[in-house]
């Protein structure tokens, strides 16, 4: 019942890594993870702290970062959210059918932005953790 082979017609499969299962899985895994972390983030930042109305003061935040687990979680958070958002932006750009040249640039720029944002996030988390109230 199978139709003859389609050797005569080769669809451009786009061998470049425009989009594939692994990239997509990263988005699908970081997404729900973010739902989890963001729920915590929102609760902590709006319901905890000295006045129970959120981490609203400098001292509250510095005290919160005392717990060594917190900077770690925040760093994971930054990495996840930056990855997810930049992959999302890349998805939108892919929808505009970029040429190979444009896509190479897009990849490079997004990678640069992503790495600097995560680097900055790590630096910031460590700086806050080392402060004293």
């Amino acid at each position: 019942m199978n139709s003859p082979s389609s050797e005569h017609f080769n669809y451009p499969t786009g061998r470049r890594a425009g989009e594939n299962a692994w990239l997509w899985l990263v988005k699908m895994i970081t997404g729900p993870l973010l739902v989890l972390i963001l729920t915590l983030h929102l609760i902590v930042n709006h319901y905890m702290g000295s006045a129970h109305s959120g981490l609203m003061t400098y001292n509250d935040i510095v005290a919160y970062f005392r717990n060594p687990l917190i900077p770690l979680i925040e760093i994971i958070f930054v990495a996840t959210v930056v990855t997810h958002s930049l992959l999302g932006v890349r998805g939108i750009i892919l929808d505009m059918n970029p040429s190979q040249k444009v896509l190479t640039w897009v990849n490079a720029v997004l990678l640069l932005i992503g790495c600097s944002a995560v680097g900055y996030g790590i630096w910031l988390a460590l700086v806050i953790a080392s402060k004293s109230t």
Binding site: S3, Y11, T13, G18, D95, M96
Partner: protein, 241 residues
């Protein structure tokens, strides 16, 4: 005496290298006639230069797809009653996301090439058909019976798809549904194309294809199922099976 309505057709007109315009035609219709009947009447009695496509008149050939008031319809099975009221204006436009050849006729070559790229099946063994309530169990000898594939290749889904609007090489609903119909475990050679940049991951879940498909293909569901197939094929590959 059948019911009589007056409706106005506002038809998109465009010939090569000419600017587009809308022509209006007011006619008496029976609301249970089909949109295509009214368009044929316009052609027969008002304007012989109007270009449109049809063949079978019974939702088989997939030639008569157009947009009616902005929504993709197979005009040979869409009654006037289902989309209009007495004295309504019906805007008739060609499908989107295909180059216009003349008036309501678009060049669907791209869709046919994509269907060919996934070797879409026109008929399939009945035992492989995803039908609503299959008999409890197929017998092996039942596979001698074949069934027409649901897809008419009418292109309505491509016209309705937001991703297809901006990315020409994106395979789009009907070809992805045709790949799902093959099943990647039966046709592992399709994996490269389906898992590529123009394949199954580019759908953004608007489910417009399913909303407009006139033929129960339900491409949205099939694309989602194809994702499952792709992931399991990739995982099988990863573990070297």
């Amino acid at each position: 005496m059948p019911e009589q309505w007056t409706v106005t057709l506002r038809i998109y007109r465009q010939k090569t290298n000419e600017p587009s315009r809308y022509d209006t035609f007011t006619l008496e219709v029976n609301p249970d006639e089909y949109i295509l009947d009214a368009i044929e009447r316009v052609w027969a009695f008002h304007d012989r230069s109007l270009c449109f496509r049809h063949a079978c008149h019974h939702s088989t050939c997939g030639a008569c797809g157009m947009r009616v008031n902005g929504v993709e319809k197979l005009t040979c099975i869409t009654t006037i009653r289902s989309v209009a009221r007495p004295n309504a204006v019906l805007t008739i436009e060609p499908l989107r996301n295909f180059p216009i050849i003349s008036d309501l006729v678009v060049d669907m070559g791209e869709l046919y090439r994509k269907m060919e790229a996934v070797e879409a099946r026109a008929v399939l063994p009945i035992t492989e058909a995803e039908i609503e309530k299959p008999p409890h169990q197929w017998k092996t000898e039942d596979s001698q019976y074949v069934r027409l594939s649901d897809c008419l290749e009418c292109g309505l889904c491509i016209s309705a798809c937001p991703v297809a609007a901006t990315s020409q090489p994106y395979l789009g609903p009907a070809p992805l549904a045709a790949a799902q119909d093959h099943r990647l475990d039966r046709r592992p050679d399709l994996l490269t194309l389906i898992d590529s940049e123009h394949g199954v991951w580019r759908c953004h879940s608007a489910f417009e294809c399913t909303a407009v498909c006139p033929s129960f293909v339900d491409p949205g569901r099939r694309i989602m199922d194809l994702r499952k197939q792709t992931i399991s094929a990739k995982i099988r590959h990863f573990f070297g099976k």
